[in-house]
Symmetry: C2
Protein backbone atom coordinates (compact mmCIF):
# COMPACT_ATOMS: atom_id res chain seq x y z
CA UNK A 1 0.00 0.00 0.00
CA UNK A 2 2.78 2.40 0.95
CA UNK A 3 4.68 1.47 -2.19
CA UNK A 4 1.55 2.24 -4.22
CA UNK A 5 1.17 5.66 -2.60
CA UNK A 6 4.81 6.45 -3.33
CA UNK A 7 4.36 5.47 -6.97
CA UNK A 8 1.30 7.76 -7.15
CA UNK A 9 3.33 10.72 -5.88
CA UNK A 10 6.19 9.92 -8.26
CA UNK A 11 4.17 10.17 -11.43
CA UNK A 12 6.34 10.94 -14.46
CA UNK A 13 6.42 14.63 -15.26
CA UNK A 14 4.43 14.20 -18.52
CA UNK A 15 1.65 12.36 -16.69
CA UNK A 16 1.57 14.95 -13.90
CA UNK A 17 1.38 17.74 -16.45
CA UNK A 18 -1.46 15.98 -18.26
CA UNK A 19 -3.46 15.83 -15.01
CA UNK A 20 -2.92 19.53 -14.39
CA UNK A 21 -3.91 20.37 -17.96
CA UNK A 22 -7.06 18.25 -17.68
CA UNK A 23 -7.97 20.18 -14.55
CA UNK A 24 -7.12 23.50 -16.18
CA UNK A 25 -9.25 22.81 -19.28
CA UNK A 26 -12.16 21.97 -17.02
CA UNK A 27 -11.79 25.11 -14.92
CA UNK A 28 -11.17 27.47 -17.87
CA UNK A 29 -14.00 25.90 -19.88
CA UNK A 30 -16.50 26.35 -17.05
CA UNK A 31 -15.36 29.53 -15.29
CA UNK A 32 -13.80 31.40 -18.20
CA UNK A 33 -10.30 32.85 -18.21
CA UNK A 34 -10.92 35.61 -15.69
CA UNK A 35 -13.09 33.50 -13.41
CA UNK A 36 -10.58 30.66 -13.22
CA UNK A 37 -8.19 30.50 -10.25
CA UNK A 38 -4.91 28.63 -10.04
CA UNK A 39 -6.03 27.41 -6.59
CA UNK A 40 -8.98 25.66 -8.19
CA UNK A 41 -6.78 24.09 -10.89
CA UNK A 42 -4.32 22.83 -8.27
CA UNK A 43 -7.10 21.44 -6.07
CA UNK A 44 -8.82 19.66 -8.95
CA UNK A 45 -5.49 18.18 -10.11
CA UNK A 46 -4.68 17.14 -6.53
CA UNK A 47 -1.38 19.02 -6.42
CA UNK A 48 -0.04 22.12 -4.67
CA UNK A 49 -0.36 25.54 -6.29
CA UNK A 50 3.44 26.07 -6.39
CA UNK A 51 3.72 22.83 -8.38
CA UNK A 52 1.26 24.17 -10.97
CA UNK A 53 3.33 27.36 -11.26
CA UNK A 54 6.57 25.34 -11.39
CA UNK A 55 5.33 23.23 -14.29
CA UNK A 56 3.16 25.71 -16.16
CA UNK A 57 4.59 29.12 -15.17
CA UNK A 58 1.60 31.50 -15.22
CA UNK A 59 -2.16 31.56 -15.72
CA UNK A 60 -1.56 33.03 -19.16
CA UNK A 61 0.89 30.28 -20.14
CA UNK A 62 -1.43 27.65 -18.75
CA UNK A 63 -4.38 28.99 -20.78
CA UNK A 64 -2.24 29.11 -23.93
CA UNK A 65 -1.09 25.53 -23.31
CA UNK A 66 -4.74 24.43 -22.90
CA UNK A 67 -5.77 26.10 -26.15
CA UNK A 68 -2.89 24.46 -28.04
CA UNK A 69 -3.54 21.02 -26.61
CA UNK A 70 -7.29 21.14 -27.29
CA UNK A 71 -6.77 22.54 -30.80
CA UNK A 72 -4.33 19.75 -31.64
CA UNK A 73 -6.62 17.06 -30.23
CA UNK A 74 -9.65 18.35 -32.16
CA UNK A 75 -7.74 18.64 -35.43
CA UNK A 76 -6.34 15.11 -35.01
CA UNK A 77 -9.81 13.72 -34.22
CA UNK A 78 -11.21 15.19 -37.45
CA UNK A 79 -8.25 14.07 -39.60
CA UNK A 80 -8.42 10.60 -38.08
CA UNK A 81 -12.19 10.46 -38.49
CA UNK A 82 -12.23 11.12 -42.22
CA UNK A 83 -10.36 7.89 -42.74
CA UNK A 84 -10.00 6.10 -46.05
CA UNK A 85 -9.55 8.42 -49.05
CA UNK A 86 -11.07 5.70 -51.22
CA UNK A 87 -14.51 6.12 -49.59
CA UNK A 88 -17.18 8.10 -51.50
CA UNK A 89 -17.10 11.86 -50.82
CA UNK A 90 -20.32 11.96 -48.78
CA UNK A 91 -19.07 9.11 -46.61
CA UNK A 92 -15.74 10.86 -45.96
CA UNK A 93 -17.56 14.07 -45.08
CA UNK A 94 -19.96 12.20 -42.82
CA UNK A 95 -17.12 10.44 -41.00
CA UNK A 96 -15.20 13.70 -40.55
CA UNK A 97 -18.25 15.57 -39.25
CA UNK A 98 -19.27 12.72 -36.99
CA UNK A 99 -15.72 12.66 -35.53
CA UNK A 100 -15.87 16.43 -35.00
CA UNK A 101 -19.23 16.36 -33.19
CA UNK A 102 -18.20 13.29 -31.18
CA UNK A 103 -15.08 15.08 -30.02
CA UNK A 104 -16.90 18.30 -29.08
CA UNK A 105 -19.66 16.35 -27.31
CA UNK A 106 -17.19 14.26 -25.32
CA UNK A 107 -14.96 17.24 -24.52
CA UNK A 108 -17.42 20.08 -23.84
CA UNK A 109 -14.92 21.94 -21.64
CA UNK A 110 -12.21 21.71 -24.29
CA UNK A 111 -14.66 22.95 -26.90
CA UNK A 112 -15.75 25.82 -24.64
CA UNK A 113 -12.08 26.80 -24.22
CA UNK A 114 -11.60 26.91 -28.01
CA UNK A 115 -14.91 28.28 -29.19
CA UNK A 116 -15.83 30.70 -26.38
CA UNK A 117 -13.09 31.39 -23.86
CA UNK A 118 -10.09 31.67 -26.19
CA UNK A 119 -11.96 34.16 -28.38
CA UNK A 120 -13.27 36.26 -25.54
CA UNK A 121 -10.03 37.21 -23.80
CA UNK A 122 -7.85 39.18 -26.15
CA UNK A 123 -5.98 38.86 -29.43
CA UNK A 124 -3.08 36.53 -28.49
CA UNK A 125 -5.45 33.74 -27.38
CA UNK A 126 -7.82 34.37 -30.28
CA UNK A 127 -4.87 34.07 -32.69
CA UNK A 128 -4.13 30.55 -31.39
CA UNK A 129 -7.66 29.44 -32.26
CA UNK A 130 -7.59 31.27 -35.57
CA UNK A 131 -4.51 29.23 -36.54
CA UNK A 132 -6.27 25.94 -35.75
CA UNK A 133 -9.37 27.06 -37.65
CA UNK A 134 -7.28 28.00 -40.68
CA UNK A 135 -5.73 24.52 -40.64
CA UNK A 136 -9.18 22.89 -40.54
CA UNK A 137 -10.39 25.09 -43.41
CA UNK A 138 -7.37 24.06 -45.53
CA UNK A 139 -8.04 20.41 -44.73
CA UNK A 140 -11.73 20.67 -45.67
CA UNK A 141 -10.86 22.70 -48.78
CA UNK A 142 -8.57 19.90 -49.94
CA UNK A 143 -11.25 17.28 -49.31
CA UNK A 144 -13.84 19.18 -51.34
CA UNK A 145 -11.38 20.21 -54.05
CA UNK A 146 -10.24 16.64 -54.73
CA UNK A 147 -13.85 15.52 -55.20
CA UNK A 148 -14.94 18.53 -57.23
CA UNK A 149 -11.90 18.42 -59.52
CA UNK A 150 -12.35 14.70 -60.10
CA UNK A 151 -16.07 15.16 -60.86
CA UNK A 152 -15.44 18.08 -63.22
CA UNK A 153 -12.33 16.52 -64.77
CA UNK A 154 -10.81 19.96 -64.19
CA UNK A 155 -7.59 19.91 -62.14
CA UNK A 156 -7.60 23.72 -62.00
CA UNK A 157 -11.04 24.35 -60.47
CA UNK A 158 -10.47 27.68 -58.72
CA UNK A 159 -9.24 27.25 -55.16
CA UNK A 160 -11.28 30.24 -54.02
CA UNK A 161 -14.61 28.75 -55.10
CA UNK A 162 -13.84 25.71 -53.00
CA UNK A 163 -12.41 27.82 -50.15
CA UNK A 164 -15.78 29.61 -49.76
CA UNK A 165 -17.58 26.29 -49.40
CA UNK A 166 -15.05 25.14 -46.81
CA UNK A 167 -15.58 28.37 -44.84
CA UNK A 168 -19.34 27.78 -44.89
CA UNK A 169 -18.93 24.18 -43.72
CA UNK A 170 -16.55 25.02 -40.87
CA UNK A 171 -18.72 27.94 -39.71
CA UNK A 172 -21.84 25.76 -39.75
CA UNK A 173 -20.06 23.01 -37.80
CA UNK A 174 -18.82 25.44 -35.12
CA UNK A 175 -22.27 26.91 -34.71
CA UNK A 176 -23.95 23.50 -34.47
CA UNK A 177 -21.41 22.19 -31.94
CA UNK A 178 -22.02 25.17 -29.67
CA UNK A 179 -25.77 24.63 -30.00
CA UNK A 180 -25.64 20.85 -29.47
CA UNK A 181 -23.49 21.27 -26.35
CA UNK A 182 -25.96 23.70 -24.79
CA UNK A 183 -29.20 21.98 -25.88
CA UNK A 184 -30.52 19.02 -23.92
CA UNK A 185 -30.63 15.72 -25.78
CA UNK A 186 -28.83 16.49 -29.07
CA UNK A 187 -26.38 13.67 -29.79
CA UNK A 188 -23.19 13.95 -31.86
CA UNK A 189 -24.82 11.73 -34.48
CA UNK A 190 -27.88 13.99 -34.70
CA UNK A 191 -25.76 17.12 -35.03
CA UNK A 192 -23.65 15.51 -37.76
CA UNK A 193 -26.79 14.27 -39.57
CA UNK A 194 -28.33 17.76 -39.40
CA UNK A 195 -25.24 19.26 -41.02
CA UNK A 196 -25.11 16.56 -43.70
CA UNK A 197 -28.78 17.18 -44.43
CA UNK A 198 -28.18 20.89 -44.57
CA UNK A 199 -25.03 20.77 -46.61
CA UNK A 200 -24.53 17.54 -48.45
CA UNK A 201 -27.18 17.60 -51.13
CA UNK A 202 -26.14 21.18 -51.87
CA UNK A 203 -22.48 20.35 -51.97
CA UNK A 204 -23.26 17.08 -53.73
CA UNK A 205 -25.12 18.88 -56.52
CA UNK A 206 -22.28 21.37 -56.84
CA UNK A 207 -19.66 18.68 -57.10
CA UNK A 208 -21.78 17.04 -59.79
CA UNK A 209 -21.90 20.35 -61.66
CA UNK A 210 -25.49 21.34 -60.84
CA UNK A 211 -25.21 24.74 -59.15
CA UNK A 212 -28.08 26.74 -57.71
CA UNK A 213 -28.66 29.75 -59.93
CA UNK A 214 -29.38 33.16 -58.40
CA UNK A 215 -32.14 35.31 -59.93
CA UNK A 216 -30.87 37.99 -62.34
CA UNK A 217 -29.83 41.31 -60.72
Amino acid sequence: MVGGAVRTRRLPRAERERQMMDAAVRVFGRQGYRGASMDEVAELAGVSKPLVYLYLKSKEDLFTACIRREARALTEAVRGGVGDAALPADRQLWEGLHAFFRYTAENPDGWAVLHVQARTHGEPFAAEVAAMRAELVVFVTQLIAVEARAAHRDPDLPEREVAGLAQALVGAAESLAAWANTTEGISARQAAATLMNFAWAGLGNLIAGRPWTPPPT
Copy 2:
Protein backbone atom coordinates in the same frame (compact mmCIF):
# COMPACT_ATOMS: atom_id res chain seq x y z
CA MET B 1 -20.38 81.39 -45.12
CA VAL B 2 -20.31 82.30 -41.44
CA GLY B 3 -23.98 81.31 -41.16
CA GLY B 4 -23.11 77.94 -42.73
CA ALA B 5 -20.26 77.35 -40.27
CA VAL B 6 -22.53 78.21 -37.32
CA ARG B 7 -25.16 75.78 -38.57
CA THR B 8 -22.48 73.07 -38.83
CA ARG B 9 -21.47 73.58 -35.21
CA ARG B 10 -25.10 73.56 -34.09
CA LEU B 11 -25.95 70.13 -35.41
CA PRO B 12 -28.86 68.52 -33.54
CA ARG B 13 -27.68 66.23 -30.77
CA ALA B 14 -28.85 63.07 -32.56
CA GLU B 15 -26.90 63.97 -35.68
CA ARG B 16 -23.79 64.84 -33.67
CA GLU B 17 -24.03 61.53 -31.85
CA ARG B 18 -24.40 59.67 -35.11
CA GLN B 19 -21.16 61.23 -36.38
CA MET B 20 -19.31 60.22 -33.22
CA MET B 21 -20.68 56.70 -33.43
CA ASP B 22 -19.66 56.40 -37.08
CA ALA B 23 -16.14 57.43 -36.09
CA ALA B 24 -16.14 55.06 -33.11
CA VAL B 25 -17.28 52.04 -35.18
CA ARG B 26 -14.49 52.76 -37.64
CA VAL B 27 -11.83 53.08 -34.94
CA PHE B 28 -13.01 50.05 -32.90
CA GLY B 29 -13.45 47.94 -36.05
CA ARG B 30 -9.89 48.67 -37.21
CA GLN B 31 -7.88 49.04 -34.00
CA GLY B 32 -9.84 46.74 -31.69
CA TYR B 33 -11.22 47.72 -28.30
CA ARG B 34 -7.89 48.05 -26.52
CA GLY B 35 -6.10 49.69 -29.44
CA ALA B 36 -8.78 52.35 -29.92
CA SER B 37 -8.31 55.76 -28.30
CA MET B 38 -10.97 58.34 -27.53
CA ASP B 39 -8.62 60.96 -29.03
CA GLU B 40 -8.77 59.19 -32.36
CA VAL B 41 -12.58 58.91 -32.21
CA ALA B 42 -12.89 62.63 -31.40
CA GLU B 43 -10.48 63.62 -34.18
CA LEU B 44 -12.21 61.46 -36.78
CA ALA B 45 -15.62 62.85 -35.74
CA GLY B 46 -14.22 66.40 -35.82
CA VAL B 47 -15.20 67.16 -32.23
CA SER B 48 -13.35 67.67 -28.94
CA LYS B 49 -12.62 64.73 -26.67
CA PRO B 50 -14.65 66.20 -23.77
CA LEU B 51 -17.66 66.35 -26.11
CA VAL B 52 -17.31 62.61 -26.85
CA TYR B 53 -17.21 61.90 -23.10
CA LEU B 54 -20.13 64.27 -22.49
CA TYR B 55 -22.33 62.45 -25.01
CA LEU B 56 -21.12 58.88 -24.65
CA LYS B 57 -19.68 58.73 -21.11
CA SER B 58 -16.83 56.19 -21.33
CA LYS B 59 -14.93 54.02 -23.79
CA GLU B 60 -16.87 51.04 -22.47
CA ASP B 61 -20.26 52.73 -22.94
CA LEU B 62 -19.22 53.91 -26.39
CA PHE B 63 -18.20 50.37 -27.42
CA THR B 64 -21.47 48.96 -26.07
CA ALA B 65 -23.44 51.62 -27.97
CA CYS B 66 -21.53 50.73 -31.17
CA ILE B 67 -22.29 47.01 -30.77
CA ARG B 68 -26.00 47.73 -30.20
CA ARG B 69 -26.30 50.09 -33.14
CA GLU B 70 -24.50 47.74 -35.54
CA ALA B 71 -26.46 44.71 -34.31
CA ARG B 72 -29.76 46.53 -34.84
CA ALA B 73 -28.76 47.75 -38.31
CA LEU B 74 -27.65 44.28 -39.43
CA THR B 75 -30.79 42.60 -38.11
CA GLU B 76 -32.99 45.19 -39.83
CA ALA B 77 -31.11 44.80 -43.10
CA VAL B 78 -31.73 41.03 -43.08
CA ARG B 79 -35.39 41.33 -42.08
CA GLY B 80 -35.94 44.01 -44.71
CA GLY B 81 -34.07 41.98 -47.34
CA VAL B 82 -36.19 38.84 -47.04
CA GLY B 83 -39.19 40.82 -48.24
CA ASP B 84 -42.40 39.33 -49.55
CA ALA B 85 -43.53 36.21 -47.65
CA ALA B 86 -45.39 35.13 -50.82
CA LEU B 87 -42.08 34.53 -52.67
CA PRO B 88 -40.82 30.92 -53.02
CA ALA B 89 -38.67 29.72 -50.11
CA ASP B 90 -35.39 29.68 -52.04
CA ARG B 91 -36.03 33.22 -53.26
CA GLN B 92 -36.74 34.48 -49.72
CA LEU B 93 -33.57 32.80 -48.46
CA TRP B 94 -31.54 34.23 -51.34
CA GLU B 95 -32.85 37.75 -50.71
CA GLY B 96 -32.14 37.50 -46.98
CA LEU B 97 -28.61 36.17 -47.50
CA HIS B 98 -27.89 38.70 -50.21
CA ALA B 99 -29.01 41.50 -47.86
CA PHE B 100 -26.80 40.08 -45.09
CA PHE B 101 -23.69 39.89 -47.26
CA ARG B 102 -24.41 43.30 -48.81
CA TYR B 103 -24.62 44.81 -45.36
CA THR B 104 -21.43 43.18 -44.07
CA ALA B 105 -19.55 44.09 -47.29
CA GLU B 106 -20.68 47.74 -47.14
CA ASN B 107 -20.04 48.01 -43.39
CA PRO B 108 -16.82 46.05 -42.85
CA ASP B 109 -15.94 48.03 -39.70
CA GLY B 110 -19.37 47.41 -38.20
CA TRP B 111 -19.09 43.72 -39.01
CA ALA B 112 -15.59 43.57 -37.47
CA VAL B 113 -17.01 45.18 -34.31
CA LEU B 114 -19.74 42.52 -34.11
CA HIS B 115 -17.93 39.41 -35.28
CA VAL B 116 -14.42 39.97 -33.94
CA GLN B 117 -14.02 42.86 -31.50
CA ALA B 118 -17.18 42.39 -29.44
CA ARG B 119 -16.34 38.71 -28.91
CA THR B 120 -12.71 39.26 -28.04
CA HIS B 121 -13.00 41.64 -25.09
CA GLY B 122 -14.92 40.00 -22.31
CA GLU B 123 -18.31 38.57 -21.47
CA PRO B 124 -20.50 41.72 -21.27
CA PHE B 125 -19.70 42.72 -24.87
CA ALA B 126 -19.91 39.13 -26.10
CA ALA B 127 -23.38 38.87 -24.51
CA GLU B 128 -24.61 41.82 -26.59
CA VAL B 129 -23.64 40.02 -29.79
CA ALA B 130 -25.02 36.71 -28.54
CA ALA B 131 -28.42 38.39 -28.09
CA MET B 132 -28.44 39.67 -31.67
CA ARG B 133 -27.33 36.28 -32.96
CA ALA B 134 -30.12 34.54 -31.03
CA GLU B 135 -32.63 36.92 -32.62
CA LEU B 136 -31.31 36.10 -36.11
CA VAL B 137 -31.46 32.37 -35.38
CA VAL B 138 -35.11 32.69 -34.29
CA PHE B 139 -35.91 34.66 -37.43
CA VAL B 140 -34.23 32.08 -39.70
CA THR B 141 -35.84 29.22 -37.76
CA GLN B 142 -39.28 30.71 -38.40
CA LEU B 143 -38.53 31.14 -42.11
CA ILE B 144 -37.43 27.52 -42.48
CA ALA B 145 -40.19 26.16 -40.23
CA VAL B 146 -42.99 27.85 -42.20
CA GLU B 147 -41.72 26.28 -45.43
CA ALA B 148 -40.99 22.86 -43.98
CA ARG B 149 -44.33 22.62 -42.17
CA ALA B 150 -46.19 23.68 -45.30
CA ALA B 151 -44.30 21.14 -47.44
CA HIS B 152 -44.85 18.34 -44.92
CA ARG B 153 -48.43 19.37 -44.14
CA ASP B 154 -47.31 18.93 -40.54
CA PRO B 155 -47.88 22.02 -38.37
CA ASP B 156 -46.02 20.38 -35.48
CA LEU B 157 -42.69 19.61 -37.19
CA PRO B 158 -40.30 19.66 -34.23
CA GLU B 159 -38.87 23.10 -33.56
CA ARG B 160 -35.52 21.60 -32.60
CA GLU B 161 -34.97 19.91 -35.96
CA VAL B 162 -35.47 23.24 -37.64
CA ALA B 163 -33.43 25.08 -34.99
CA GLY B 164 -30.36 22.95 -35.83
CA LEU B 165 -30.62 23.91 -39.49
CA ALA B 166 -30.95 27.58 -38.56
CA GLN B 167 -27.81 27.32 -36.40
CA ALA B 168 -25.92 25.79 -39.31
CA LEU B 169 -27.09 28.52 -41.69
CA VAL B 170 -26.22 31.39 -39.36
CA GLY B 171 -22.79 29.89 -38.54
CA ALA B 172 -22.03 29.39 -42.24
CA ALA B 173 -23.09 32.97 -43.03
CA GLU B 174 -20.89 34.44 -40.27
CA SER B 175 -17.91 32.44 -41.41
CA LEU B 176 -18.38 33.39 -45.07
CA ALA B 177 -18.83 37.10 -44.27
CA ALA B 178 -15.56 37.16 -42.33
CA TRP B 179 -13.83 35.37 -45.22
CA ALA B 180 -15.36 37.59 -47.93
CA ASN B 181 -14.35 40.76 -46.07
CA THR B 182 -10.73 39.64 -45.79
CA THR B 183 -10.36 38.08 -49.26
CA GLU B 184 -9.70 40.30 -52.28
CA GLY B 185 -12.43 40.37 -54.90
CA ILE B 186 -15.29 38.40 -53.30
CA SER B 187 -18.54 40.33 -53.83
CA ALA B 188 -21.64 40.14 -51.64
CA ARG B 189 -23.44 38.43 -54.49
CA GLN B 190 -20.73 35.78 -54.82
CA ALA B 191 -20.70 35.08 -51.09
CA ALA B 192 -24.50 34.76 -51.04
CA ALA B 193 -24.44 32.50 -54.12
CA THR B 194 -21.77 30.29 -52.50
CA LEU B 195 -23.94 29.84 -49.43
CA MET B 196 -27.06 29.13 -51.47
CA ASN B 197 -25.09 26.57 -53.47
CA PHE B 198 -23.80 25.01 -50.30
CA ALA B 199 -27.06 25.04 -48.42
CA TRP B 200 -30.08 25.37 -50.63
CA ALA B 201 -30.21 22.07 -52.44
CA GLY B 202 -29.65 20.35 -49.10
CA LEU B 203 -32.26 22.43 -47.33
CA GLY B 204 -34.50 22.22 -50.40
CA ASN B 205 -34.39 18.42 -50.38
CA LEU B 206 -35.10 18.38 -46.67
CA ILE B 207 -38.09 20.66 -47.00
CA ALA B 208 -39.38 18.37 -49.73
CA GLY B 209 -38.98 15.39 -47.38
CA ARG B 210 -35.85 13.88 -48.97
CA PRO B 211 -33.31 13.71 -46.15
CA TRP B 212 -29.72 12.52 -46.47
CA THR B 213 -29.41 9.18 -44.72
CA PRO B 214 -26.39 8.41 -42.53
CA PRO B 215 -24.76 4.98 -42.80
CA PRO B 216 -25.82 2.53 -40.06
CA THR B 217 -23.81 2.70 -36.83
